[in-house]
Point group: C2
Chain length 200, copies 2
Amino acid sequence: MPQGQPEYVPDDGLTTRQRRVRPLLMVHTGPGKGKSTAAFGMALRAWNQGWPIGVFQFVKSAKWRIGEERALTVLGESGQGGSVTWHKMGEGWSWIQRPGTEADHAADAREGWRQIQRDLTAQTYRFYVLDEFTYPLKWGWIDVDEVLTTLAERPGNQHVVITGRDADPRLIEAADLVTEMGKVKHPMDAGQKGQKGIEW
Amino acid sequence: MPQGQPEYVPDDGLTTRQRRVRPLLMVHTGPGKGKSTAAFGMALRAWNQGWPIGVFQFVKSAKWRIGEERALTVLGESGQGGSVTWHKMGEGWSWIQRPGTEADHAADAREGWRQIQRDLTAQTYRFYVLDEFTYPLKWGWIDVDEVLTTLAERPGNQHVVITGRDADPRLIEAADLVTEMGKVKHPMDAGQKGQKGIEW
């Protein structure tokens, strides 16, 4: 809930406008629901500003995010806001946990990260969703320090939101905005299976 | 992150399919960001299922949610998913905190709640976003027990998500899914003002 006024004005030599347009690194982490969902909700605002949006989906099931993908694709094609480009692991760099295939999945994840690096350098997008990106970091597939360096050196005014559980402490330290989604109650705890329109 | 399998199968006499289509009451609360944003992200999935969506915006500034409203309006008008109907307090039942006007705002909020009651009874929508609805409950403008009764007795298969800080314990108890958004770090703590495309 934005209150409109910061708690204090920092002595950093920047004007309010300069601070206002600062590119943000945002992290949605924690065990609860809503991490990715809130990131896609943010993408609606980015779209409304006319910003090019890049989604990089580091998830493990093709069923996930189909609603979000279709909605953002329709928005991108409407010509009434920003463009939307959707990069999906399921097409070229997906991973499904199969014994003996972890090495390939690591390579796939790194390939996705290389694309992100290229896009950040080229300023291809204004708003990036790195969906479930904490996992390849956690599993050591992608080097956290390399990610932090790339993000710290990204040119221009590119906002990045990273989602997933167990965000690395260094990533949290580097982020401008961190929200921890806590699980208070979940239907699956009561034997409820996932259902269409809610989980996907 | 849906895991696909519930932890146990409840002895409730329902089939998996019956449990699967159970209408859900969801609450996004806590001091962190992403409560409403995640609710609007969920609306993308509902839209993709072709469900009629009703948004009831109990917020205090007309600037808020303009990105979400425009995106969901474009989606609703695309004819490629569900319809979207957006009820805004700013048009008829808004409140801005001005001394001496609290009574009117309470009446405005109650008027919005009456519309929600009518729509739930008529099954007007399949997915409801009651945005920032915890506040009129907290302030005593709308009776919590009446809300719980209406929700418990709602017919058919209508999903409802309620957002806002300080959700009433009775609401949390009644909900099927509760996520607490915790604030770990926020740019406004560092003197950053809200910026377009991010906060609105």
